[in-house]
Protein backbone atom coordinates (compact mmCIF):
# COMPACT_ATOMS: atom_id res chain seq x y z
CA UNK A 1 0.00 0.00 0.00
CA UNK A 2 2.80 2.43 0.90
CA UNK A 3 4.46 1.34 -2.32
CA UNK A 4 1.32 2.21 -4.25
CA UNK A 5 0.72 5.55 -2.51
CA UNK A 6 4.34 6.55 -2.98
CA UNK A 7 4.22 5.63 -6.67
CA UNK A 8 1.02 7.57 -7.12
CA UNK A 9 2.51 10.69 -5.48
CA UNK A 10 5.72 10.60 -7.49
CA UNK A 11 3.94 9.48 -10.65
CA UNK A 12 1.69 12.52 -10.60
CA UNK A 13 4.62 14.88 -10.00
CA UNK A 14 6.66 13.25 -12.75
CA UNK A 15 3.46 13.36 -14.80
CA UNK A 16 4.31 17.01 -15.50
CA UNK A 17 7.59 15.78 -16.98
CA UNK A 18 5.73 13.17 -19.02
CA UNK A 19 3.37 15.81 -20.44
CA UNK A 20 6.35 17.99 -21.35
CA UNK A 21 8.02 15.09 -23.13
CA UNK A 22 4.72 14.24 -24.83
CA UNK A 23 4.65 17.77 -26.26
CA UNK A 24 8.13 17.55 -27.79
CA UNK A 25 8.11 13.87 -28.71
CA UNK A 26 4.58 13.40 -30.01
CA UNK A 27 3.21 16.86 -30.83
CA UNK A 28 6.36 18.49 -32.21
CA UNK A 29 7.69 15.15 -33.38
CA UNK A 30 11.28 15.73 -32.17
CA UNK A 31 12.96 14.01 -29.22
CA UNK A 32 14.21 17.03 -27.29
CA UNK A 33 17.29 16.43 -25.15
CA UNK A 34 16.96 19.83 -23.48
CA UNK A 35 14.81 17.93 -20.96
CA UNK A 36 17.88 16.60 -19.14
CA UNK A 37 19.04 20.15 -18.46
CA UNK A 38 15.71 21.87 -17.99
CA UNK A 39 14.57 19.34 -15.39
CA UNK A 40 17.66 20.05 -13.29
CA UNK A 41 17.16 23.75 -13.94
CA UNK A 42 13.70 23.45 -12.37
CA UNK A 43 15.15 21.52 -9.44
CA UNK A 44 17.88 24.10 -8.85
CA UNK A 45 15.73 27.21 -9.26
CA UNK A 46 12.99 25.83 -7.03
CA UNK A 47 15.47 24.91 -4.28
CA UNK A 48 17.21 28.27 -4.34
CA UNK A 49 13.97 30.25 -4.28
CA UNK A 50 12.66 28.01 -1.49
CA UNK A 51 15.80 28.66 0.56
CA UNK A 52 15.10 32.35 0.02
CA UNK A 53 11.67 31.75 1.59
CA UNK A 54 9.22 31.58 -1.32
CA UNK A 55 8.48 27.92 -2.20
CA UNK A 56 5.39 28.63 -4.33
CA UNK A 57 7.17 31.34 -6.26
CA UNK A 58 9.91 28.73 -6.82
CA UNK A 59 7.51 26.66 -8.93
CA UNK A 60 6.52 29.65 -11.05
CA UNK A 61 10.09 30.87 -11.58
CA UNK A 62 11.17 27.33 -12.46
CA UNK A 63 8.43 27.13 -15.09
CA UNK A 64 9.56 30.42 -16.60
CA UNK A 65 13.23 29.40 -16.63
CA UNK A 66 12.32 26.10 -18.27
CA UNK A 67 10.46 27.99 -21.00
CA UNK A 68 13.54 30.11 -21.68
CA UNK A 69 15.70 26.98 -21.92
CA UNK A 70 13.26 25.45 -24.41
CA UNK A 71 13.16 28.65 -26.41
CA UNK A 72 16.96 28.62 -26.68
CA UNK A 73 16.85 25.11 -28.16
CA UNK A 74 14.09 26.28 -30.49
CA UNK A 75 16.17 29.22 -31.66
CA UNK A 76 19.16 26.96 -32.31
CA UNK A 77 16.95 24.58 -34.30
CA UNK A 78 15.24 27.18 -36.43
CA UNK A 79 17.11 30.47 -36.69
CA UNK A 80 20.56 28.87 -36.67
CA UNK A 81 19.51 25.67 -38.42
CA UNK A 82 21.23 23.21 -36.09
CA UNK A 83 20.00 19.61 -36.16
CA UNK A 84 17.21 19.24 -33.53
CA UNK A 85 19.04 16.54 -31.54
CA UNK A 86 22.30 18.49 -31.51
CA UNK A 87 20.48 21.71 -30.57
CA UNK A 88 19.04 19.92 -27.54
CA UNK A 89 22.43 18.51 -26.59
CA UNK A 90 24.02 21.97 -26.80
CA UNK A 91 21.41 23.55 -24.54
CA UNK A 92 21.56 20.63 -22.13
CA UNK A 93 25.32 20.93 -21.92
CA UNK A 94 25.21 24.70 -21.44
CA UNK A 95 22.54 24.28 -18.75
CA UNK A 96 24.95 22.21 -16.65
CA UNK A 97 26.96 25.36 -16.05
CA UNK A 98 23.85 27.47 -15.63
CA UNK A 99 22.48 25.05 -13.04
CA UNK A 100 25.71 25.07 -11.07
CA UNK A 101 25.65 28.85 -11.17
CA UNK A 102 22.05 28.85 -9.90
CA UNK A 103 23.11 26.64 -7.00
CA UNK A 104 26.00 28.97 -6.25
CA UNK A 105 28.69 26.67 -7.70
CA UNK A 106 27.67 23.83 -5.40
CA UNK A 107 26.52 20.46 -6.73
CA UNK A 108 23.67 20.21 -4.23
CA UNK A 109 21.40 22.37 -2.12
CA UNK A 110 19.69 20.97 0.97
CA UNK A 111 16.17 22.07 1.94
CA UNK A 112 16.31 20.44 5.37
CA UNK A 113 14.99 22.88 7.94
CA UNK A 114 13.70 25.18 5.20
CA UNK A 115 10.01 25.75 4.69
CA UNK A 116 9.00 23.99 1.46
CA UNK A 117 5.47 24.20 0.12
CA UNK A 118 4.91 20.75 1.62
CA UNK A 119 5.93 21.96 5.10
CA UNK A 120 3.50 24.86 4.72
CA UNK A 121 0.67 22.53 3.71
CA UNK A 122 1.45 19.93 6.42
CA UNK A 123 0.91 22.74 8.93
CA UNK A 124 -2.16 24.18 7.20
CA UNK A 125 -3.91 20.87 6.57
CA UNK A 126 -2.97 18.59 9.47
CA UNK A 127 -6.03 16.40 8.87
CA UNK A 128 -4.70 15.08 5.56
CA UNK A 129 -1.45 13.71 6.90
CA UNK A 130 1.82 13.92 5.01
CA UNK A 131 0.89 11.36 2.38
CA UNK A 132 -2.44 13.06 1.82
CA UNK A 133 -0.78 16.42 1.27
CA UNK A 134 1.78 14.98 -1.17
CA UNK A 135 -1.01 13.27 -3.07
CA UNK A 136 -3.08 16.46 -3.11
CA UNK A 137 -0.18 18.57 -4.42
CA UNK A 138 0.67 16.01 -7.11
CA UNK A 139 -2.95 15.70 -8.17
CA UNK A 140 -3.60 19.45 -8.16
CA UNK A 141 -0.48 20.31 -10.15
CA UNK A 142 -1.05 17.52 -12.66
CA UNK A 143 -4.72 18.44 -13.15
CA UNK A 144 -4.14 22.19 -13.43
CA UNK A 145 -1.31 21.72 -15.92
CA UNK A 146 -3.39 19.18 -17.84
CA UNK A 147 -6.31 21.59 -18.08
CA UNK A 148 -4.16 24.53 -19.13
CA UNK A 149 -2.34 22.47 -21.79
CA UNK A 150 -5.58 20.96 -23.03
CA UNK A 151 -6.97 24.46 -23.45
CA UNK A 152 -3.75 25.77 -25.03
CA UNK A 153 -3.56 23.07 -27.69
CA UNK A 154 -7.10 23.90 -28.74
CA UNK A 155 -6.38 27.57 -29.27
CA UNK A 156 -5.29 28.90 -32.62
CA UNK A 157 -1.62 28.99 -31.55
CA UNK A 158 -1.90 25.46 -30.19
CA UNK A 159 -3.39 24.22 -33.44
CA UNK A 160 -0.53 25.83 -35.36
CA UNK A 161 2.05 24.08 -33.15
CA UNK A 162 0.33 20.73 -33.65
CA UNK A 163 0.19 21.21 -37.41
CA UNK A 164 3.88 22.17 -37.50
CA UNK A 165 4.78 18.89 -35.80
CA UNK A 166 2.40 16.90 -37.94
CA UNK A 167 3.09 18.18 -41.46
CA UNK A 168 5.71 20.87 -41.63
CA UNK A 169 5.62 21.10 -45.44
CA UNK A 170 1.93 22.01 -45.28
CA UNK A 171 2.41 24.57 -42.56
CA UNK A 172 5.25 26.24 -44.39
CA UNK A 173 3.11 26.74 -47.46
CA UNK A 174 0.30 28.10 -45.30
CA UNK A 175 0.57 31.44 -43.59
CA UNK A 176 1.94 30.08 -40.30
CA UNK A 177 5.43 30.94 -39.11
CA UNK A 178 6.90 27.51 -38.35
CA UNK A 179 9.92 29.07 -36.61
CA UNK A 180 7.76 30.78 -34.01
CA UNK A 181 5.64 27.66 -33.53
CA UNK A 182 8.62 25.37 -32.89
CA UNK A 183 10.15 27.80 -30.41
CA UNK A 184 6.82 28.24 -28.62
CA UNK A 185 6.20 24.49 -28.51
CA UNK A 186 9.63 23.72 -27.07
CA UNK A 187 9.24 26.53 -24.54
CA UNK A 188 5.94 25.12 -23.23
CA UNK A 189 7.36 21.60 -23.19
CA UNK A 190 10.44 22.55 -21.18
CA UNK A 191 8.39 24.80 -18.89
CA UNK A 192 6.40 21.71 -17.84
CA UNK A 193 9.57 19.65 -17.44
CA UNK A 194 11.17 22.32 -15.21
CA UNK A 195 7.97 22.57 -13.18
CA UNK A 196 8.17 18.84 -12.57
CA UNK A 197 11.76 19.24 -11.36
CA UNK A 198 10.68 22.12 -9.15
CA UNK A 199 8.09 20.13 -7.24
CA UNK A 200 10.34 17.05 -7.06
CA UNK A 201 13.10 19.16 -5.44
CA UNK A 202 10.71 20.30 -2.74
CA UNK A 203 9.20 16.89 -2.04
CA UNK A 204 12.59 15.19 -1.74
CA UNK A 205 14.06 18.10 0.22
CA UNK A 206 17.19 18.71 -1.80
CA UNK A 207 18.50 19.74 -5.19
CA UNK A 208 21.22 17.81 -6.95
CA UNK A 209 23.10 18.72 -10.12
CA UNK A 210 22.64 15.20 -11.49
CA UNK A 211 18.83 15.06 -11.00
CA UNK A 212 18.23 15.29 -14.73
CA UNK A 213 20.42 12.43 -15.91
CA UNK A 214 18.31 9.93 -17.84
CA UNK A 215 15.16 11.96 -17.21
CA UNK A 216 14.23 12.12 -20.91
CA UNK A 217 14.11 8.32 -20.98
CA UNK A 218 11.85 8.36 -17.90
CA UNK A 219 9.54 10.78 -19.70
CA UNK A 220 9.58 8.74 -22.90
CA UNK A 221 8.87 5.53 -20.98
CA UNK A 222 5.88 7.21 -19.32
CA UNK A 223 4.52 8.45 -22.64
CA UNK A 224 4.93 5.03 -24.24
CA UNK A 225 3.40 3.12 -21.31
CA UNK A 226 0.48 5.55 -21.38
CA UNK A 227 0.01 4.93 -25.08
CA UNK A 228 0.04 1.19 -24.48
CA UNK A 229 -3.00 1.70 -22.25
CA UNK A 230 -4.92 4.41 -24.13
CA UNK A 231 -3.65 4.02 -27.68
CA UNK A 232 -2.48 6.96 -29.77
CA UNK A 233 -5.36 9.38 -30.01
CA UNK A 234 -5.90 13.13 -29.78
CA UNK A 235 -3.99 15.66 -27.72
CA UNK A 236 -6.31 15.58 -24.70
CA UNK A 237 -6.19 11.79 -24.38
CA UNK A 238 -2.45 11.91 -25.05
CA UNK A 239 -1.82 14.28 -22.14
CA UNK A 240 -3.95 12.18 -19.77
CA UNK A 241 -2.22 9.02 -20.92
CA UNK A 242 1.18 10.62 -20.23
CA UNK A 243 0.19 11.20 -16.59
CA UNK A 244 -1.27 7.70 -16.23
CA UNK A 245 1.84 6.30 -17.91
CA UNK A 246 4.02 8.14 -15.44
CA UNK A 247 2.13 6.64 -12.48
CA UNK A 248 2.28 3.14 -14.00
CA UNK A 249 5.99 3.59 -14.65
CA UNK A 250 6.58 4.43 -10.97
CA UNK A 251 4.54 1.41 -9.89
CA UNK A 252 6.47 -0.89 -12.25
CA UNK A 253 9.80 0.46 -11.05
CA UNK A 254 8.99 0.20 -7.38
CA UNK A 255 7.61 -3.33 -7.86
CA UNK A 256 10.77 -4.35 -9.67
CA UNK A 257 12.92 -2.86 -6.94
CA UNK A 258 10.87 -4.23 -4.01
CA UNK A 259 11.21 -7.79 -5.32
CA UNK A 260 14.96 -7.34 -5.04
CA UNK A 261 15.53 -8.75 -8.51
CA UNK A 262 17.49 -5.66 -9.37
CA UNK A 263 19.64 -3.36 -7.26
CA UNK A 264 18.56 0.31 -7.30
CA UNK A 265 21.25 1.38 -9.71
CA UNK A 266 19.62 -0.75 -12.44
CA UNK A 267 16.82 1.82 -12.71
CA UNK A 268 18.08 3.66 -15.77
CA UNK A 269 18.95 0.48 -17.63
CA UNK A 270 15.43 -0.87 -17.05
CA UNK A 271 13.90 2.41 -18.21
CA UNK A 272 16.02 2.43 -21.36
CA UNK A 273 15.07 -1.17 -22.13
CA UNK A 274 11.35 -0.40 -21.67
CA UNK A 275 11.61 2.48 -24.15
CA UNK A 276 13.75 0.56 -26.65
CA UNK A 277 11.41 -2.45 -26.61
CA UNK A 278 8.29 -0.30 -26.91
CA UNK A 279 9.71 1.71 -29.80
CA UNK A 280 10.82 -1.43 -31.63
CA UNK A 281 7.35 -3.00 -31.54
CA UNK A 282 6.15 -1.57 -34.89
CA UNK A 283 9.26 -2.89 -36.68
CA UNK A 284 8.97 -6.25 -34.99
CA UNK A 285 5.31 -6.47 -36.07
CA UNK A 286 6.25 -5.78 -39.69
CA UNK A 287 9.03 -8.40 -39.59
CA UNK A 288 6.66 -11.00 -38.15
CA UNK A 289 4.11 -10.18 -40.83
CA UNK A 290 6.75 -10.58 -43.55
CA UNK A 291 7.73 -13.94 -42.15
CA UNK A 292 4.13 -15.10 -42.16
CA UNK A 293 3.67 -14.00 -45.77
CA UNK A 294 6.84 -15.82 -46.80
CA UNK A 295 5.81 -18.97 -44.99
CA UNK A 296 2.36 -18.96 -46.56
CA UNK A 297 3.87 -18.23 -49.96
CA UNK A 298 6.09 -21.31 -49.63
CA UNK A 299 3.32 -23.64 -48.53
CA UNK A 300 1.19 -22.60 -51.51
CA UNK A 301 4.05 -22.98 -53.97
Amino acid sequence: MTLFVGSLQLGLMYGLLAMGVFISFRILNTPDLTAEGSFTLGVAVSAVVTVAGAPWLGLLVAFGCGMVAGAVTGLLQTKVGIHPILAGILTMSALYTVNLAVMNASSNVSLIGKETLFQQLFAALPGLGKDGVRLLVGLALALITLMVLNWFFRTHAGLCIRATGNNEAMVRSSSINTTVMKILGLAVSNGCIALSGAVIAQVQGYADISSGIGILVVGLASVIIGEAVFGRRGVGVGLVSAIVGSVLYRILISLALSTNIFPTYFLKLISAVIVAVALSLPTVKIELQKRRIRREGRTHA
Partner: protein, 265 residues
Protein backbone atom coordinates in the same frame (compact mmCIF):
# COMPACT_ATOMS: atom_id res chain seq x y z
CA UNK B 1 -3.32 40.86 -60.47
CA UNK B 2 0.06 39.13 -60.80
CA UNK B 3 2.96 40.74 -62.65
CA UNK B 4 6.19 38.88 -63.25
CA UNK B 5 9.06 40.71 -64.94
CA UNK B 6 12.42 39.35 -66.08
CA UNK B 7 12.33 36.40 -63.68
CA UNK B 8 15.47 34.22 -63.84
CA UNK B 9 16.85 31.42 -61.70
CA UNK B 10 19.91 29.27 -62.20
CA UNK B 11 20.50 26.35 -59.88
CA UNK B 12 24.01 25.19 -58.93
CA UNK B 13 25.58 28.04 -60.88
CA UNK B 14 29.26 27.55 -61.67
CA UNK B 15 29.19 23.76 -61.27
CA UNK B 16 28.83 20.98 -63.82
CA UNK B 17 25.22 20.65 -62.70
CA UNK B 18 24.42 24.25 -63.61
CA UNK B 19 20.81 24.44 -64.72
CA UNK B 20 18.92 27.49 -65.85
CA UNK B 21 15.41 26.75 -64.67
CA UNK B 22 13.89 30.16 -65.36
CA UNK B 23 15.19 32.38 -68.14
CA UNK B 24 13.68 35.85 -68.15
CA UNK B 25 10.00 35.08 -67.61
CA UNK B 26 7.54 37.93 -68.23
CA UNK B 27 3.92 37.24 -67.38
CA UNK B 28 0.84 39.19 -66.33
CA UNK B 29 -2.32 37.65 -64.91
CA UNK B 30 -5.48 39.72 -64.63
CA UNK B 31 -8.28 39.04 -62.16
CA UNK B 32 -10.39 36.20 -63.45
CA UNK B 33 -7.56 34.76 -65.55
CA UNK B 34 -7.34 30.99 -65.40
CA UNK B 35 -4.10 29.96 -67.06
CA UNK B 36 -3.17 26.37 -67.85
CA UNK B 37 0.52 25.59 -68.24
CA UNK B 38 2.03 22.82 -70.34
CA UNK B 39 5.64 21.89 -70.88
CA UNK B 40 8.06 19.02 -71.05
CA UNK B 41 10.03 17.68 -68.08
CA UNK B 42 12.33 20.28 -66.59
CA UNK B 43 10.76 23.14 -68.53
CA UNK B 44 10.62 25.28 -65.37
CA UNK B 45 6.90 25.05 -64.58
CA UNK B 46 7.24 24.03 -60.96
CA UNK B 47 10.26 26.31 -60.52
CA UNK B 48 8.08 29.22 -61.59
CA UNK B 49 5.58 28.27 -58.88
CA UNK B 50 8.37 27.93 -56.33
CA UNK B 51 9.56 31.46 -57.03
CA UNK B 52 6.03 32.85 -56.81
CA UNK B 53 5.30 31.00 -53.55
CA UNK B 54 8.64 32.01 -52.04
CA UNK B 55 10.24 28.57 -51.66
CA UNK B 56 13.42 30.21 -52.98
CA UNK B 57 14.43 33.64 -54.22
CA UNK B 58 15.04 34.28 -57.92
CA UNK B 59 18.43 35.52 -59.15
CA UNK B 60 16.82 38.30 -61.13
CA UNK B 61 13.44 39.83 -61.77
CA UNK B 62 10.43 40.81 -59.73
CA UNK B 63 7.09 39.40 -58.72
CA UNK B 64 4.25 41.77 -57.90
CA UNK B 65 0.91 40.67 -56.52
CA UNK B 66 -1.83 43.32 -56.54
CA UNK B 67 0.87 45.98 -56.87
CA UNK B 68 2.94 44.77 -53.91
CA UNK B 69 6.47 43.51 -54.59
CA UNK B 70 6.61 40.06 -52.98
CA UNK B 71 9.87 38.85 -54.58
CA UNK B 72 11.73 38.61 -51.27
CA UNK B 73 8.81 38.32 -48.86
CA UNK B 74 9.04 35.34 -46.45
CA UNK B 75 7.09 32.29 -47.55
CA UNK B 76 4.60 32.34 -44.68
CA UNK B 77 3.85 36.06 -45.15
CA UNK B 78 2.89 35.74 -48.80
CA UNK B 79 1.10 32.44 -48.16
CA UNK B 80 -1.82 34.52 -46.89
CA UNK B 81 -2.27 35.81 -50.44
CA UNK B 82 -1.33 32.69 -52.37
CA UNK B 83 -3.03 29.31 -52.20
CA UNK B 84 -0.98 26.39 -53.51
CA UNK B 85 -1.72 22.72 -54.22
CA UNK B 86 0.77 20.02 -55.13
CA UNK B 87 0.44 16.67 -56.85
CA UNK B 88 0.88 14.77 -53.59
CA UNK B 89 -2.43 14.87 -51.65
CA UNK B 90 -0.50 14.14 -48.42
CA UNK B 91 1.35 17.44 -48.63
CA UNK B 92 -1.53 19.78 -47.99
CA UNK B 93 -3.16 18.46 -44.81
CA UNK B 94 -2.12 17.41 -41.29
CA UNK B 95 -3.04 13.70 -40.99
CA UNK B 96 -3.30 13.49 -37.19
CA UNK B 97 -5.64 16.47 -36.93
CA UNK B 98 -9.36 16.38 -37.60
CA UNK B 99 -11.05 17.73 -40.72
CA UNK B 100 -12.48 20.63 -38.72
CA UNK B 101 -9.08 21.47 -37.21
CA UNK B 102 -7.34 21.42 -40.59
CA UNK B 103 -9.95 23.66 -42.15
CA UNK B 104 -10.04 26.04 -39.17
CA UNK B 105 -6.27 26.39 -39.36
CA UNK B 106 -6.48 27.62 -42.93
CA UNK B 107 -9.60 29.71 -42.45
CA UNK B 108 -8.72 31.71 -39.34
CA UNK B 109 -4.95 31.92 -39.81
CA UNK B 110 -3.58 35.39 -39.19
CA UNK B 111 -7.00 36.81 -38.40
CA UNK B 112 -7.43 35.55 -34.87
CA UNK B 113 -5.86 36.31 -31.53
CA UNK B 114 -3.41 33.41 -31.03
CA UNK B 115 -5.05 32.34 -27.78
CA UNK B 116 -8.58 32.41 -29.09
CA UNK B 117 -10.31 29.06 -29.32
CA UNK B 118 -9.46 27.51 -32.67
CA UNK B 119 -12.79 25.82 -33.36
CA UNK B 120 -15.53 28.39 -33.00
CA UNK B 121 -19.09 27.35 -33.68
CA UNK B 122 -19.74 29.96 -36.34
CA UNK B 123 -16.55 29.11 -38.26
CA UNK B 124 -17.12 25.38 -38.07
CA UNK B 125 -20.68 25.82 -39.36
CA UNK B 126 -19.40 27.93 -42.27
CA UNK B 127 -16.63 25.43 -43.10
CA UNK B 128 -19.12 22.58 -42.88
CA UNK B 129 -21.37 24.30 -45.42
CA UNK B 130 -18.45 24.89 -47.76
CA UNK B 131 -17.42 21.26 -47.50
CA UNK B 132 -20.98 20.14 -48.16
CA UNK B 133 -20.87 21.79 -51.61
CA UNK B 134 -18.26 19.18 -52.62
CA UNK B 135 -20.84 16.41 -52.38
CA UNK B 136 -18.31 14.01 -50.85
CA UNK B 137 -20.08 13.55 -47.53
CA UNK B 138 -17.08 14.98 -45.67
CA UNK B 139 -19.27 17.49 -43.85
CA UNK B 140 -20.63 14.69 -41.67
CA UNK B 141 -17.14 13.63 -40.62
CA UNK B 142 -15.74 16.89 -39.27
CA UNK B 143 -14.27 15.17 -36.21
CA UNK B 144 -12.51 12.47 -38.22
CA UNK B 145 -8.73 12.47 -38.56
CA UNK B 146 -7.65 13.53 -42.03
CA UNK B 147 -5.19 10.63 -42.24
CA UNK B 148 -8.19 8.31 -42.65
CA UNK B 149 -9.40 10.00 -45.84
CA UNK B 150 -8.63 8.97 -49.41
CA UNK B 151 -6.21 10.94 -51.59
CA UNK B 152 -9.05 12.55 -53.53
CA UNK B 153 -10.85 13.59 -50.37
CA UNK B 154 -7.65 15.03 -48.96
CA UNK B 155 -6.96 16.92 -52.16
CA UNK B 156 -10.48 18.35 -52.17
CA UNK B 157 -9.93 19.45 -48.56
CA UNK B 158 -6.61 21.02 -49.47
CA UNK B 159 -8.36 22.90 -52.24
CA UNK B 160 -10.86 24.30 -49.77
CA UNK B 161 -8.06 25.15 -47.33
CA UNK B 162 -6.12 26.95 -50.06
CA UNK B 163 -9.08 29.07 -51.14
CA UNK B 164 -11.25 29.55 -48.04
CA UNK B 165 -9.19 32.52 -46.79
CA UNK B 166 -9.80 34.30 -50.12
CA UNK B 167 -6.26 34.49 -51.56
CA UNK B 168 -5.29 36.70 -54.50
CA UNK B 169 -3.72 33.88 -56.47
CA UNK B 170 -4.15 30.12 -56.75
CA UNK B 171 -1.31 27.86 -57.91
CA UNK B 172 -2.15 24.28 -58.90
CA UNK B 173 0.84 22.03 -59.59
CA UNK B 174 -0.68 18.95 -61.30
CA UNK B 175 -3.02 18.70 -58.36
CA UNK B 176 -5.11 15.92 -59.86
CA UNK B 177 -2.28 13.85 -61.36
CA UNK B 178 -2.09 11.38 -58.47
CA UNK B 179 -5.85 10.74 -58.42
CA UNK B 180 -7.87 8.14 -60.30
CA UNK B 181 -9.66 9.55 -63.38
CA UNK B 182 -13.13 9.80 -61.79
CA UNK B 183 -11.82 11.51 -58.64
CA UNK B 184 -9.61 13.77 -60.72
CA UNK B 185 -12.70 14.83 -62.67
CA UNK B 186 -14.55 15.64 -59.42
CA UNK B 187 -11.64 17.66 -58.00
CA UNK B 188 -11.25 19.54 -61.30
CA UNK B 189 -14.97 20.33 -61.21
CA UNK B 190 -14.67 21.75 -57.70
CA UNK B 191 -11.60 23.70 -58.79
CA UNK B 192 -13.31 25.42 -61.71
CA UNK B 193 -16.35 26.25 -59.60
CA UNK B 194 -14.31 27.89 -56.83
CA UNK B 195 -12.13 29.77 -59.32
CA UNK B 196 -15.19 31.08 -61.12
CA UNK B 197 -17.05 32.04 -57.92
CA UNK B 198 -14.11 33.93 -56.45
CA UNK B 199 -12.86 35.27 -59.83
CA UNK B 200 -9.55 34.02 -58.50
CA UNK B 201 -6.47 34.40 -60.76
CA UNK B 202 -5.27 30.82 -61.17
CA UNK B 203 -2.32 29.05 -62.72
CA UNK B 204 -2.59 25.31 -63.29
CA UNK B 205 0.23 23.05 -64.39
CA UNK B 206 -1.11 19.97 -66.12
CA UNK B 207 0.16 17.16 -68.29
CA UNK B 208 -3.23 16.60 -69.78
CA UNK B 209 -3.29 18.54 -73.05
CA UNK B 210 -7.02 18.20 -73.50
CA UNK B 211 -7.87 19.70 -70.11
CA UNK B 212 -5.19 22.34 -70.68
CA UNK B 213 -7.20 23.55 -73.65
CA UNK B 214 -10.66 22.96 -72.18
CA UNK B 215 -10.16 24.54 -68.78
CA UNK B 216 -9.52 28.20 -68.16
CA UNK B 217 -9.19 31.01 -70.66
CA UNK B 218 -5.50 30.98 -71.50
CA UNK B 219 -2.77 28.40 -72.13
CA UNK B 220 0.98 28.77 -71.74
CA UNK B 221 3.64 26.41 -72.95
CA UNK B 222 7.04 26.47 -71.27
CA UNK B 223 10.36 25.15 -72.51
CA UNK B 224 13.90 25.57 -71.15
CA UNK B 225 12.80 28.17 -68.61
CA UNK B 226 10.94 30.31 -71.11
CA UNK B 227 7.34 30.82 -72.14
CA UNK B 228 7.29 29.75 -75.78
CA UNK B 229 3.57 29.91 -76.38
CA UNK B 230 0.84 32.08 -74.88
CA UNK B 231 -2.57 31.69 -76.42
CA UNK B 232 -5.99 32.93 -75.38
CA UNK B 233 -9.36 33.99 -76.76
CA UNK B 234 -10.51 33.16 -80.27
CA UNK B 235 -7.26 31.51 -81.32
CA UNK B 236 -7.36 29.16 -78.35
CA UNK B 237 -11.05 28.34 -78.70
CA UNK B 238 -10.50 26.59 -82.02
CA UNK B 239 -7.24 24.92 -81.12
CA UNK B 240 -7.02 21.13 -81.06
CA UNK B 241 -4.41 19.05 -79.28
CA UNK B 242 -2.83 18.22 -82.67
CA UNK B 243 -2.51 21.95 -83.47
CA UNK B 244 -0.77 22.49 -80.17
CA UNK B 245 1.75 19.73 -80.88
CA UNK B 246 2.37 21.19 -84.35
CA UNK B 247 2.90 24.65 -82.86
CA UNK B 248 5.36 23.21 -80.38
CA UNK B 249 7.49 21.28 -82.83
CA UNK B 250 7.40 24.27 -85.18
CA UNK B 251 8.97 26.49 -82.53
CA UNK B 252 11.28 24.00 -80.91
CA UNK B 253 12.26 21.93 -83.93
CA UNK B 254 11.54 18.68 -82.05
CA UNK B 255 8.62 16.69 -80.76
CA UNK B 256 7.18 17.40 -77.33
CA UNK B 257 8.83 15.20 -74.74
CA UNK B 258 7.11 14.57 -71.45
CA UNK B 259 6.93 11.03 -70.16
CA UNK B 260 3.57 11.65 -68.59
CA UNK B 261 1.96 13.90 -71.18
CA UNK B 262 -1.54 12.76 -72.03
CA UNK B 263 -2.49 13.66 -75.57
CA UNK B 264 -6.09 12.56 -75.21
CA UNK B 265 -7.64 10.44 -72.52
Amino acid sequence: MLEITGLSKTFAAGTVNQHTALDGINLTLRDGDFVTILGSNGAGKSTLFGAIAGVFWPDQGHIRLNGEDITYQPEHRRARKIGILFQDPMKGTAPDMTIAENLALAYTSGRRFPLARALQKKDVAYLRDQLATFGMGLEDRMKMKVGLLSGGQRQAMTLLMATVARPSLLLLDEHTAALDPATAETVLGITTRIVKEQRLPTMMITHNMRSALELGNRTLMMERGRIILDIAGEERAHLQVEDLLRLYSGREGKALDNDRMLLND
